[in-house]
Symmetry: C5
Subunit: 382 residues, 5 copies
């Protein structure tokens, strides 16, 4: 009996990267939303005690076609000092801290308390909301680390400024920042293009995640086609769970980018419009892939189950063949092991005293076994 | 044989909080609607004999930016005496009693009999209906107590007044009342904002329910990944049933709040509009969660079944290995237990008289057993 | 072996009210529509030979705010004699007979032959059709008698008259008739309100059916959670079949009442509009319930199957435990039942002559059995 | 062992009308469309070598309110000679032959090559296409002959003429032709009504097919509720396949007739409009039935599988009961069949020499068997 | 035991055309998209290092009603030299090479960098994008070579020019090119008709693929109805995977051609409109087929599983019959093989000394066996 068959499957899972997620299941993920006490005032600010984040860091980047000014880890006041009317300003805030900084940003830009609440109470559904002075956009950035990790990105887009808030450190916008510094076309365009570039960077990060999931799924397929083990079952379950999370995070994005592309909220310049339309196309591609992965994962589960049932069939077949051949033979042997006294009567097991009794019994048994084998052949079991 | 395997599973369920709902199944829940006798006049009032509620209690709260007046458990006449033209009045009625109070409210405010009937014949589908003088809104409040409990909240919203009717005691609106008393922005706004605040409180109460269900589901997942028992199956079934109930209660809400947010019925001030849009977003989030829970629960059921079939496979494998090794051996032993008389002829079991007969038989048996083991190895059953 | 396990399950079904429908399966129900010979002229009248109904009975009720005149089982001519311009007339026809009466009604009111054909060729899909002089509405009344029974109600609504045709006797409109007689508000309103009142009575009759089905489903749930038998499987199948029939009968109703509520066909007075909107709400509720019942029934079937597979698991486990413990022991016993002649050589079963041979064999056997039990414990089978 | 259980199931299928379709599977049906070589010019005419049809036969019928002129199997030129401006002409062509006749029709009526190509490359999706001078309608006629057989009907409808092309002989339009001859209302109406009448005849032919399928399904239901055999499984599979074909043929019809009913293409007279609306209703009924049959068939398959699993359960139960009772008994008998030499020591099987040894062993065995039976009773297996 | 039953199934797959795809699974296909580094500038050109294509080849074809000029494998400059204002120019580029040629085309025609990026980063979702000076269309060409192979075709359509870019050699447009050379109607029409003709050629190539898949599916059906083997399971899984790929490639095409047919982007001449409408119809047909194939494949998988479970049933039945008949008999034989000493007491196995003991035992055994057989008959197992 192999070890694999016993109950201690936990040990395997821990060391197998494909199956690793299970060990993190203590981390609750089906419901992660931070929410205000029911009945409390909307837009209220509460220090997020449960999920303390490091003190927020503020980066600022002010640019126009001719110049770029960049400061990292400054105070909010310093950041706003850099704002110039004719330039585009991008303020990036990492971490919520105790929420005061977010509140201060809200006051400086006149942001609605509800929007600020949505920045704090992560995760929100991806959405775009139009306010007279600014647009408020919520996106979910995703990463694949043995599972889907999402992080909220909140954007406020005004006429000449973009403010982004993300929760954890790590910089998905290295590329955008570099393009601003090195003076590509982005420098000649407005805040709408900057907002597009940031959203584009977020959506572009979906592709490596999809690629990782595709690799994972194809590995699982290979394994299912080889020996199906119970660990595979768990891995498939995990995969489906991750796809549920990913879909929940990405699905509303279609509507968000579609709304922006139809120019219903954000005032896009004509140039940016073309780009947002392209972005919309990317979102559709991401959703296409998620859908086909979900279908593929279901298919793999079905294949797994089919193979398991095939296996059961085969095991039962072996058992049946051995048992149905030998059980009758054993019976015959048992008969001639009986101790009836031949002396008591002429019908009491006279065979035992026959000259050819023993060979005859062997012949009988071989005939039985041969008949069984012929029967199994006819049934194509052999 | 463990006790678990026998039929007396009922005992277990009673003591396990996860599985507790079953014991309440005598309480019919698939169809709970109170309905009038078919063919009877619409909008007729019948004292609800079957579900007697305590005498209705009337609470009233009148406020404007400067002052708040609050009375609890007053008569309806007293409540209406407090109404002032320039102030917002909120009358909260708990319980239907014999329906007379509801009828009186209807007469005082000129409410259509059909709407009054919907207040009495709970539960109704969540809906919003426009009447010239008022809006009529029906919501379902939910609670999680080892299962989803719903309770209808009916709102009548006029220009300067909100009347709410709930059936059971218990105050989901503590927070709203407190905010009115303590003079926050709610005091400076109209009845539309009050209606929003009450609806928001109802929707906010969904999140703890979702959280409880998510915890429950993740507990179930942990259990399924350990030893799958029949109780788990019942718990999963219960969970799916609760999700069916919850979806039935919440799904129409999307349309209700969407209709209000599009300003098709309620005359919302511009300020309130923003808040209702945010509320709509919350409703979508709730529905997203319900959908993914339903999918997750289905997945868990599949995982459970897969594990059960895996288990059957394994059990059958053990049986097969033991049986196919020992059945042939037993046959061999049976052969040499036969009593053919060697004296009757030279071919009658001469083996029994061989010098090395017994060791030779052992060798034959070991070869058979070894061959079987090699065969199982090749098949990866060992 | 219980009787239940053999093939004679038919006997059980006949006596169990839950399972009773099966005995009526000779009554074809998947396709019950009466249809004209393909290629025949539309709107042609053929005496319905196959489904003879009793001679049609004509009831007439003429009322205005002040007076009510009622006659039952009159001739059509007499009925039309009562018609007064300023009053509302309701003619109710029960049964088709040979179709001549229907034809005569059609001629008197100038009804399109296609509509008359739809009255005869039951069942039609629920629908509303606008003709210049009248509206033609088809509804399905349902009853629960160990299964869903539907009956078509055809309505012709003109300016001052409503003509209803139903096929079988039995009066779902007792309540409406009573309300007219007793002079409630219905007397002050037009034919549109009468049509609404009749449709409302039809839809109200769905609720007891839903309640019966809910009770039935909850009974089935209780049974599945106890001992799942094959009869339950049939009952679940029947339930799903009834839900298919019910859905087919009710689903188009949504569109019908919705169309009327949007005032696209029937010229509703403003007052009636409110009531039809309420009726639409009831239809949505009915559909919500049907959907959740269908989902619940599927869930029950899954639960049933899961329990059956659980049971198979358990049975196989018992077999495996007994067999794997005793098969090796039997082999050991078989070995020492062999008749090798100890006299032939010192290696021929010397154990048989050992002083402690027999106790030693018992110890060996107990060790084997104990090892097996430990193994099963480790696997949590015991 | 019954013959039914072995592999030679083919023989059964051939003789069972319910299962007969299988023998025709050599006839490819999943993809039957005739298509032009990719890249070839659209609207090109190729003689259909692969599916030779008999030479096309041309029937012509010219009628107005007063007269009917009818000729069968004439040349196309003769047919067109009969056309009168004030009369309605119906030309029916049976068979494509080498396509030249179709081409000639196209030239005479100025039909677009693409439409002609669609007449030849059958089957097309049902559709209606508007051309300035005519409407082009494609329908699928269906027949039930142990399976769904579809045949394309192409209609060209001009101001005063209808040209129909069908592929095989057989006349679904006997009824229409008869109505024209016998001078019913059809004679007083235009080509639009003739087109309606032909479409109506096609749709009316769906009802017998649906009835046949319903009967078939209900027969299958009866059989599944009796003994489920493997043949039933094939029959269910065939049924589902036929439903897939039927749905593919009928589904687009909804849009086609809907488009015509909304008067978007065909210029219908007001009178015909009413009839087409009725036709639309029939199409919806057909689709309702198809959907519920598909659901019913899935349900039957599930029922079949459930019964099979029930059966496996029961078989395994019988095996387990017999084996678990007798295996321990056989072991006991085996023990006392051992040949330990009582003379070698006092502990060597003294039981064999006891006065009550044999009865005692029987008592032990009966206790074991009784205990097992009690255990099975407790588990409700007996 | 057949070889088929062991683990070395890989060998079979390699040589079976139906199952051949598996051997190519090293070729990743779930996610194949080439994407730019996240955060990089949109529309950037990177030499595609990972998927090197041969140097791009440029073919040019310039034609009007009177003349055709054609050159193959020219330089881009030479190709553009041929462009004449009044003629239609078709430039076909095969292969991307290092992207420079594509870039040059973009510069010459003023194509947006995003569109150029989509040409390079294959595969894109099928789409049509409107730019002021040109339309950009992306299609997926498909081929069936033991699986679905897709290749992107990008079209740029200007007033008088069509530029197509495909990645691999192989010419799906032989037919179109031939039609231009031989002077059919295509010569008298504009670039919109040429674009149509090319899209039509692409869509026409779907039909042979569908036919191949239909044949494949029907072969699989035949095999499932004969002996279901594990290889079939893999083949069905592969088929479903291919259908997922195909659907992903074709589904968006519906919207693309629909958009063009509604004349929302491409400025179609009236003549071409008719053709595009026909093309739309073809796309719908393709999708209809894909859907019904997917349904059919699911059905086949279900049939396979049902047959497997049927088989398990049957195997278990054989085992049960043999075992339940012989196990009791073996027990009886075992009893009389016991060695109780008759001399020790009169109750010690007196049967052994009876005159008719042995025949009596045989009769007992035959009665037991006969009873079992009767029992199985009654259960219809025999």
């Amino acid at each position: 009996m192999s070890d694999m068959a016993n109950g201690s499957t936990n040990d395997h899972r821990k060391h197998d990267p494909l199956l690793g997620r299970l060990t993190r299941s203590s981390q609750k993920r089906l419901f992660r939303k931070r929410y205000s006490k029911p009945g409390s005032a909307p837009g209220r600010f509460e220090p997020p005690q449960d999920q303390p984040t490091s003190d927020p860091a503020v980066d600022v980047l002010v640019y126009d076609a001719d110049s770029v000014e960049e400061k990292r880890s400054v105070s909010l006041a310093d950041a706003f000092d850099l704002v110039r009317d004719e330039a585009v300003t991008w303020i990036n805030i990492v971490g919520h801290g105790d929420g005061r900084l977010i509140k201060e940003v809200g006051e400086r830009l006149g942001i609605h308390p509800l929007a600020l609440e949505d920045v704090m109470n992560v995760p929100q559904r991806p959405k775009v909301e139009h306010y007279p002075e600014y647009e408020f956009i919520v996106l979910q950035m995703v990463e694949w680390q043995n599972g889907v990790d999402t992080e909220q990105l909140s954007l406020f887009v005004t006429q000449r400024m973009v403010v982004t808030v993300q929760m954890k450190a790590g910089d998905p916008f290295v590329g955008v920042r570099e393009r601003i510094r090195s003076g590509t076309q982005i420098r000649t365009r407005g805040s709408d293009y900057l907002a597009y570039a940031l959203m584009d960077a977020v959506v572009d990060h979906y592709f490596p995640v999809l690629e990782a999931m595709a690799n994972h799924l194809e590995d699982l397929e290979d394994r299912v086609l080889q020996v199906p083990t119970e660990e595979l079952l768990h891995a498939l379950h995990n995969m489906k769970r991750e796809l549920i999370y990913l879909r929940r995070a990405v699905w509303p994005l279609r509507e968000v980018v579609g709304t922006i592309a139809r120019n219903e909220t954000l005032r896009l310049s004509e140039i940016t419009s073309v780009y947002v339309r392209d972005l919309y196309d990317h979102v559709l591609q991401v959703l296409d892939h998620i859908e086909s992965y979900a279908e593929f994962a279901s298919d793999l589960r079905d294949l797994y189950l089919s193979r398991a049932s095939q296996r059961l069939n085969e095991i039962t077949k072996v058992l049946t063949i051995i048992a149905t051949i030998f059980i009758p033979l054993t019976f015959v042997a048992g008969v001639y092991g009986m101790n009836f006294n031949p002396a008591a009567g002429p019908l009491n097991m006279p065979e035992l005293g026959w000259r050819w009794g023993y060979p005859a019994v062997w012949i009988v048994m071989l005939v039985i076994a041969g008949g069984m084998i012929v029967y199994f052949r006819r049934k194509k079991w052999l």
